[in-house]
Symmetry: C2
Subunit: 382 residues, 2 copies
């Protein structure tokens, strides 16, 4: 049996995440659920979100899939119930799970767009408190706390990360790119230092999910959007990770740990080679002649895969201990309920020690969280 | 000795390409060269271009490179002289060369932005006449005519392609993506039919160069632009080629031949696998359940590389007869003047028949143009 540590799942937030936690005066403008007929919506400030859980399709037959579950009743309860979630995951052999937000968007950037930044600050804290005190507390062996931050204020973000570390936070959720969101550049020498500096010091991996830039990479608005978006998302991760390789971040913080979620791994060797070649040829165009992009990539970056035989085939052209596994529950990419069977095909022929690294040991080390779950038959605990 | 067919080089247009060919009344508004001090500029309509030849750096030491040669005298003459160009190429073992335009942009899209579309039409024809009658005519064994088209009018474009076929055209230059240029979508069922239909019928490959979309994929404006652009360009080719895989074009024209220039090859196997997986999972979101993206890719697409050991290593995970070689003269990526030496490293350990396919035989077949040049020692002509 495979024993999995999933570094990428998704919480669908219950209705009271914010209303039960923000100060009373903000309850009407913080995210709350309203109903119209059989539909439910999230409302906040002067906005309304028309889906309760983007692509939360787990457990439905594919011909009923859509991007827009219209109410909580339209979803499998394990989307928003941590006890049921943990049961679903364990049934697959998944014994640890890192979760991204949904309403706050995959990088937590929603609140950076709020007009009222005090409200936004309370909303960030409310999500983190919900995550740690409610979601992860429901099953501390299973759930690994990854917190969101005040992207518009790195000093405030560092304070929030520190507050959450004291409550058990093990990772920080960030955005693939900053400038498409109207935030300062990663190339602004010291702007982001408070976040990356603290994450380096506290050994918290910084996780960036595909589609968290606030801009789509899809080059044609008339393409079949879902399938094209999901297909090209690796290119978005490539753009973001290469931009990061060229940036001051890994040079200022040589021990920073950067995780690119749902971007796949099979393209990474070709990308490193190309970036190195260009970096060496175009020294005239950039100031630094220190680390090659591939050195940054191999030292500071982790890439993730769900079911990717090609990526597995090429695993030794990247770093075998920088490859992570993800379940993507409850999105369309999740192998649930066939995780074990599918993995048998994906990992066919791979030595057990390498399977263990990819499925859980790399993540255990990176997130400082040990799997608690049945040991493989015929082995002792270890 | 390696014998090369380069499917991607660049013409720097001489000053009189348009002024000597457009009707007299257009000479002042068609592209023409003006001088100010020691600088030269291209002017047309009400615009001025501040570089005479983007990144035309061949023959200069890297510490003198820039994106902006400021005059013809600032460039190696072989940039704009076909006789000298052919000599440079032959010195490298390159015996055939397909060339992209420079001032009209890599996809010929400059003229689609002209206010006066009659002028634009004359400018397209002038470039094609220059290409065929002057550039390629200077060395018909070496130069393979690839023409640009009236992107704003597919019917007119088809007429132009037909006109050029009669003059010897062997390929058509197109753009990676259409919508970022304000042109109709590739997913508009029949809009582009006149171009792709004629190219299929006449067996003309359609070549799309990185950076020809009119929009950059670079996600951060403060990144070291040249090195990041060149590094991430494969992601741009991935976005465009996957969009094309999902489009009606290869379904309406099953024999269309699509060439992605300077995008590299090493990422293609991972991209095909991901696209297939998403296409199969998300049948609910798109109408068609016919060809998988990888089937389109393996049947209709060719990918190109300059020096890419990783791509060579993965060559059998794509199609060995759909990989092409490029020299990228006179840009910074060109291996000139070390083409043979560098190729010895890139192709180390590859069987000779596969080297022959990649370096020239695939291109000979695709472009219907046979290499004329010295045969390898110890072999008969063949």
């Amino acid at each position: 049996m495979f024993r999995f540590f999933s570094v990428d799942d998704h919480i669908i937030e219950p209705a009271d995440v914010w209303t039960s936690r923000v100060p009373a005066k903000y309850r009407d403008v913080a995210p709350h659920v309203v109903e119209e007929g059989d539909r439910q919506f999230w409302e906040f400030e002067d906005q309304r979100i028309t889906t309760m859980g983007t692509n939360a399709v787990v457990g439905k037959p594919p011909d009923e899939w859509s991007v827009e579950p219209i109410s909580f009743d339209d979803m499998r309860r394990a989307c928003y119930d941590p006890v049921l979630r943990a049961a679903d995951l364990r049934s697959q052999g998944i014994f640890a799970s890192v979760n991204f937000p949904t309403l706050p968007r995959f990088g937590g950037a929603l609140f950076a767009g709020f007009k009222d930044k005090v409200l936004a600050h309370h909303c960030v804290r409310a999500w983190n408190d919900f995550l740690i005190d409610e979601w992860c507390a429901a099953d501390p062996d299973m759930f690994v706390p990854m917190v969101i931050v005040q992207l518009w204020d790195p000093e405030l973000a560092a304070e929030e990360i520190q507050r959450c570390i004291e409550k058990g936070a093990k990772a920080v959720c960030f955005v693939e790119n900053t400038t498409p969101l109207g935030l300062p550049s990663l190339h602004d020498e010291s702007h982001w230092d408070p976040i990356f500096g603290l994450c380096e010091e506290a050994e918290l991996p910084v996780c960036m999910h595909i589609g968290s830039s606030g801009s789509s990479s899809v080059p044609d608005p008339k393409t079949p959007m879902i399938v094209t978006f999901a297909s090209v998302a690796f290119a978005g991760a490539a753009l973001a990770s290469i931009n990061m390789m060229m940036s001051p971040v890994p040079r200022r913080f040589p021990n920073i740990k950067l995780v690119w979620s749902e971007g796949g791994i099979g393209w990474v060797p070709a990308a490193m080679e190309r970036a190195d070649r260009q970096y060496a040829r175009h020294l005239w165009s950039h100031a630094s002649n220190d680390l090659m992009p591939s050195e940054v990539c191999r030292r500071n970056m982790w890439f993730c895969m769900i079911e990717e035989p090609v990526g597995i085939k090429y695993r030794h052209d990247f770093e075998i201990d920088h490859i992570l596994w993800e379940s993507d529950y409850p999105h369309a990419d999740t192998p649930f309920p066939n995780t074990q069977e599918n993995a048998s095909e994906v990992f066919a022929g791979v030595p057990q020690d390498e399977i263990d690294l990819i499925t859980h040991r790399n993540a255990e080390q990176l997130f400082h969280h040990q799997l608690v779950g049945p040991q493989p038959a015929g082995t002792s605990a270890g």
